[in-house]
Subunit: 134 residues, 2 copies
DNA sequence: TCCTAAATAGGACTTATTCTTATTTAAGTT
DNA sequence: AACTTAAATAAGAATAAGTCCTATTTAGGA
């Protein structure tokens, strides 16, 4: 929790209960959509309005504290910003797993052949996780 | 246009004017969001309702004739389904470019190290296109 | 403890999407 | 070419998602 206070302070944002609860919730779940955040935080702060949630999500994204996670055929999810990584999505159980892998050579190939200067990438791999395999 | 009639027929879907206009529009633009599709098709068929557009987009996706294109910080776009490819998004001019590149070795690395069985991937590279570079 | 800019609550408002039903149409059959 | 019918559409109601407004509250520095 303290780490989020520091992050907020570093961005001149006040550490309100709502904000901390939102960050804590997203951190706990790893990847979560807006309704699930609302349900979770609402249990702790029943007075919190949806407007507050939406506003905070948007603010935290623009301060690069949160990041969108866009998965195929799913509602948008959110995660705490961390070291660049890709997402593995299990088609069976819908679990989302972070995975750290070097993508430089792929980016280089693309840069060389496309003329694009690539700064960052968003990669989702769709498949079946260990647990769901027979 | 004939090719779309064939695709629809192969899926037992009727070739309505609206459907063909939607497919033609998406094909022309390459990547386009729902409002832009509406504006374009509406010019040709002012009687078309939004419900028809939404219904068709969803149906065409479930028949794998269309695919979602989810880009960072943007409204969802749609494209005609084609050979697997990745998307290059220019941060400057917002242009979306299709790019064909071999991703097997990356997928293999991930499979080996994660235990996931990967079936397909969604890759977006964010950067600056040729034309927007100085 | 005081002060003030920032943040929240709550509801109004707007935009996005889906649902419902009467009407129309594509396309196969005669 | 007319007939038939299941599929598709139009139009608007209904619902869901997201933003805006403003009076009140609060975090956090002095």
């Amino acid at each position: 929790m303290e780490r989020f206070k520091d992050v907020l302070k570093a961005n001149n944002l006040k550490s309100t209960h709502q904000r901390l609860a939102i960050l804590d919730c997203i951190d706990t779940y790893g990847h979560i959509d807006i309704d699930a955040i609302y349900d979770t935080v609402f249990k702790k702060y029943p007075s919190m309005s949806k407007a507050t949630l939406y506003r905070n999500i948007n603010d935290l994204i623009s301060f690069h504290i949160l990041e969108e996670v866009k998965l195929p055929n799913q509602k948008q999810q959110y995660e705490i910003r961390k070291i660049p990584h890709i997402h593995l999505l299990c088609k069976n159980c819908a679990k989302v797993e972070d995975f750290f892998v070097e993508t430089h050579s792929l980016m280089e190939t693309i840069t060389l052949n496309s003329g694009f200067t690539i700064s960052n990438s968003f990669i989702v791999m769709n498949g079946t996780c260990k647990e769901c395999k027979v």
